[in-house]
C-alpha cells in the first residue's frame, strides 16, 4: 500500500466502521480474539494431547498441532500398524498404541482428537468424556442420529469438558468475515444457495491386507457411510446454514453410480435440494466422476452473490444494487465475464500492520489450524461453548444423515422438529 492517499485510507476506515456492516456481536458465537501475550500469560502448562485415528485427517491434525506451541502430541492411537509407522515418521518418538483405552487411562493426557472412521466416533467420544478428557471430534460427528444424540447428551452433561466438533468454518477468519457481511444484509434478500464438490477419484483405499482394506473402505460401505453429503457436504452446508441462520425443513435427494461401478452401493454422484425455513432453496451436488470446476459455494440474494472458493470469498454485485462505497477500493478478480470483489478478512488489522487490506492476509493459516487454535485456547481461557459446539455438530449430523437417506432412496424427507431434540 505504497501509493495510497490519505483520502483512500479515510474512506476505507470509514467503511470499516460503518454501523451497517458491523454485525451485532451476539450473532457471533466465538471466543474473543486472543493475542500471543495473553496466551503466554494464561497457559500455565502445555496441553498434553493424543490423536486417535491416524488416517489422512488424524495425520493432518498431528501436523497442525506442531504449529500450536501450547500443545504437545503425547500419543497416537490406531488399530492399523502401518498408520502407527506413519505416526513415527511424522512425529519421531511419539508414543503409539493400538487401543485408545491406553490414552484414556493416562492421567497426563488431558485432551483427545478423534479422527477415526465416522461410525466409530461415538464410543470413543463417550469413553473419553467419561475419562474426563477434552474432546475434539471430526465432522460429521456420527453416522447415525442416535449416536450423534448420545454424544451431544454426554457433551451437555459434562460442561467442564470442552467438546468441539471439526466444523472448521466456524473458526476461520474468512468465514467469520463473510458471516458478518451476510448478516449485515450484503446479499439483500437471500434467495438461494448452491454448493458443489467435484473431483475425479474412486474414493477407494488400498491396503496389502484384505481384511484391513474392508475396514479402510468404510466410506464405501453403505451400512455405515454417510456418503458424499456427510463426509464432504457437511463442511459446505454448515457455513451456508450458519450464514443464513436457518434450518432446513425438508430435503429431496438423488444419487447415482455413474463411473465407479465396482460393486459399491454408495453413489459416486449426488444431488440434494434443501428447503430452508423461509423457503430459500439450498442446492448441493457432488461427484467423484469429474473434476471440472472443483469445489465452491455461492450464496445469492437480491443485491449480490457471495462466492467461496478455496476458503476465500468474493462478492458479485447486481447491476441494480445500491453502491456500498468501499468496493471502489477493494481488489477485483475476473471470473470469466463476472467481476468479483475480494472480501478480505481483518482488513482493519492488516491496514494497521501496513499490509495491504485489499490483498489476502500473508499470515493466513490452514482452516484446520484455526479450528485447533480455537480448541486449544479454550483450555486456558475456558471452558466456554466452542463456536463448533455439540449443538451445532449434532444439528449438522441430523441434517446430513437424513439427506443421505433421501439420496439413497431418491425421495423427499421432512425434518421433523423432534429430530433436532438432544
Amino acid at each position: 500500500m505504497k501509493d495510497r492517499t490519505y483520502g483512500d485510507l479515510l474512506s476505507r476506515r470509514n467503511f470499516l466502521k460503518r454501523s451497517s456492516l458491523i454485525p451485532l456481536s451476539g450473532l457471533l458465537a466465538q471466543a474473543p480474539a486472543i493475542g500471543a501475550d495473553a496466551r503466554r500469560a494464561t497457559f500455565r502448562e502445555q496441553v498434553q494431547a493424543a490423536v486417535i485415528g491416524f488416517g489422512p485427517q488424524g495425520r493432518d491434525i498431528a501436523a497442525t498441532l506442531t504449529r500450536i506451541p501450547e500443545v504437545d502430541l503425547a500419543a497416537v492411537v490406531d488399530t492399523y500398524n502401518v498408520m502407527l509407522q506413519r505416526a513415527q515418521r511424522s512425529a519421531p518418538g511419539v508414543a503409539t498404541f493400538e487401543n485408545y483405552r491406553e490414552v484414556l487411562d493416562n492421567p497426563d493426557i488431558s485432551t483427545v482428537f478423534i479422527a477415526t472412521p465416522t461410525h466409530l466416533h461415538k464410543q470413543i467420544a463417550l469413553d473419553a468424556l467419561s475419562a474426563g478428557k477434552h474432546v475434539y471430534v471430526e465432522a460429521p460427528m456420527a453416522s447415525t442420529i442416535d449416536d450423534a444424540r448420545a454424544m451431544a447428551q454426554a457433551a451437555r452433561d459434562n460442561p467442564n469438558l470442552i467438546f468441539q466438533v471439526g466444523l472448521y468454518a466456524r473458526s476461520h477468519p474468512n468465514y467469520r468475515s463473510v458471516f458478518q457481511f451476510i448478516r449485515s444484509g450484503a446479499l439483500g434478500k437471500a434467495t438461494m444457495t448452491r454448493s458443489q464438490w467435484h473431483t475425479k477419484e474412486s474414493w477407494r483405499r488400498a491396503s496389502p491386507n484384505r481384511e484391513r482394506e474392508i475396514a479402510q473402505n468404510w466410506r464405501l460401505d453403505a451400512e455405515v457411510s454417510t456418503g458424499l453429503i456427510g463426509e464432504v457436504g457437511t463442511h459446505q452446508l454448515d457455513p451456508t446454514l450458519w450464514f443464513l441462520g436457518k434450518r432446513p425443513v425438508a430435503v429431496t435427494g438423488l444419487g447415482q453410480i455413474m463411473l465407479w461401478n465396482d460393486g459399491r452401493l454408495v453413489p459416486d454422484t449426488i444431488q440434494a435440494v434443501f428447503e430452508l425455513e423461509d423457503g430459500v432453496p439450498m442446492l448441493y451436488d457432488a461427484t467423484l466422476t469429474s473434476s471440472f470446476d472443483a469445489a465452491y459455494d455461492t450464496y445469492s440474494g437480491r443485491d449480490s452473490t457471495i462466492m467461496f472458493r478455496d476458503h476465500r470469498a468474493w462478492m458479485f454485485k447486481e447491476v441494480d444494487a445500491p453502491l456500498l462505497g468501499w468496493e471502489v477500493y477493494a481488489r477485483k478478480d475476473k471470473f470469466y465475464k463476472e467481476t468479483g470483489i475480494a472480501l478480505v478478512a481483518n482488513a482493519t488489522q492488516l491496514d494497521a500492520q501496513d499490509i495491504s487490506p485489499t490483498e489476502d492476509d500473508p499470515n493466513l493459516e490452514t482452516p484446520l489450524w484455526y479450528a485447533l487454535r480455537d480448541f486449544i485456547d479454550n483450555h486456558a481461557f475456558g471452558p466456554y461453548p466452542p463456536a463448533a459446539s455439540y449443538e451445532v455438530g449434532f444439528e449438522m449430523a441430523v441434517i446430513t444423515i437424513k439427506a443421505n437417506e433421501a439420496i439413497l432412496q431418491g425421495t423427499r424427507i421432512d425434518y421433523d422438529n423432534a429430530l433436532f431434540e438432544i
Binding site: 501436523a63 506442531t66 491396503s207 496389502p208 482394506e213 499470515n363 493466513l364 489450524w369
Partner: protein
Amino acid sequence: MGTVRLARMAMACRFELVLQGEDEPWLRAAGEEALREIERLETRLSRFLPASDVSRINTHASQEAVPVEPWLLDLLKQSLYLHRCTNGAFDLTVGPLMKAWGFYGDGARVPGADELAKARLRTGMHLVELDEAHRTVRFAHEGVALDFGAIGKGYAVDEAMHVLREAGVERAFLHGGTSTMYGIGKPLDADSWNVAVVDPRSPDEPVALVAIRDEALSVSAVSGKSFEVEGTCYGHVLDPLLGKPVRGALLAATVTSSAAIADAVSTALLVHARPLAGYRSLVIRSDEKGPLPSRILHHGIPLYRTPKNGSTPFSASMLNGHITTLQQHPNLNATL
C-alpha cells in the same frame, strides 16, 4: 494382470503414474493415495500458497525462529547436505535471484547491477540456520527466501512411492512433468522401465536409453522456459554461484536411489556443465561448435547408439516406461 494409468496436475506440472498388477480397482486406489500425497506436499512446499510451510518460513524466519515439522527439518538438512555435495550448485535460497531475473512470473529480464548485487547478498545456504534441538529454522537476515523448486518435485515422487510400497504395489512408474521419475520393480513386459533421454535440439534423437528399476532418474534442461536478450539465450535455471542463468549446458540427467537427490543433483549438473564425481550422470553441453557426441559428457549412463540399418532410430515400443523425456509422447500426452 492389468495396467492402470492416473494423472494429476500438481506443482505446476503433470504427474503421471502407471501401475501394474492383478486388481485394477485396488491399483487405482493405491495410485490415488500416492497422487494425493503429492498434492498434499504441494500445499506444504509451495511458495505461492500463503498457508504453506515455505510461505510461513519466508514470511517470518528473518524475524524469529520458525518451528517446522520433523519431515521438513529432514528435508532442509538433506538440502544442506546436497548443497555441500554439489559444491554449492544446488541451493534452496535462489528465490531472490529468481525474482531479480523475473522468473517468478513478472516477465523474465536481465536485472540491473545493483539489483543483482542485492539479490546475491540474500542468496546462500549459509544464511539458513537450522536448530535441530528445537526443530526451528531461521534466516541470517531480511530478504532470504526458500524455493524448493529444484528438489520439491523429487521429494514428492519419493513420498508417493513410499505410499505405493506401503500399499504393497510391486510394479509402478511415476514421473512429474517428464523430468523427475521413479520406477518400482519392473513392468510386465520387460526387465526395467526404459526412458529415453533426448537432445533438446533434436528431440527425435535419443542420446541415452536409461533402464530404471527401483531407481530414480531426473533430467534438467534449460529449454522450455528461456528468454533471449540481444542474441543471448538465458535459461530458467540459475547458477547460484554466479547469480546468472546457467549457460554451459543444455541438459543434465542423473540416476540415483532417490528422486529428491536426483532432482537436486541434475540441477547442479546443469550449473557445473559436467558430471559430478559419485553420480551416474550425463550432461549435454551447449557449445555451438562440434558434433553432438563431443558435447556429451557422461559417467555411468551409456549412450544410445543409432542402429546402422536405416530403420527408425528408436520407437515408442522400446519405451515401456512410456515416456521420452523432453518430448511429447503419443500414448501419454506427456508434455513439459
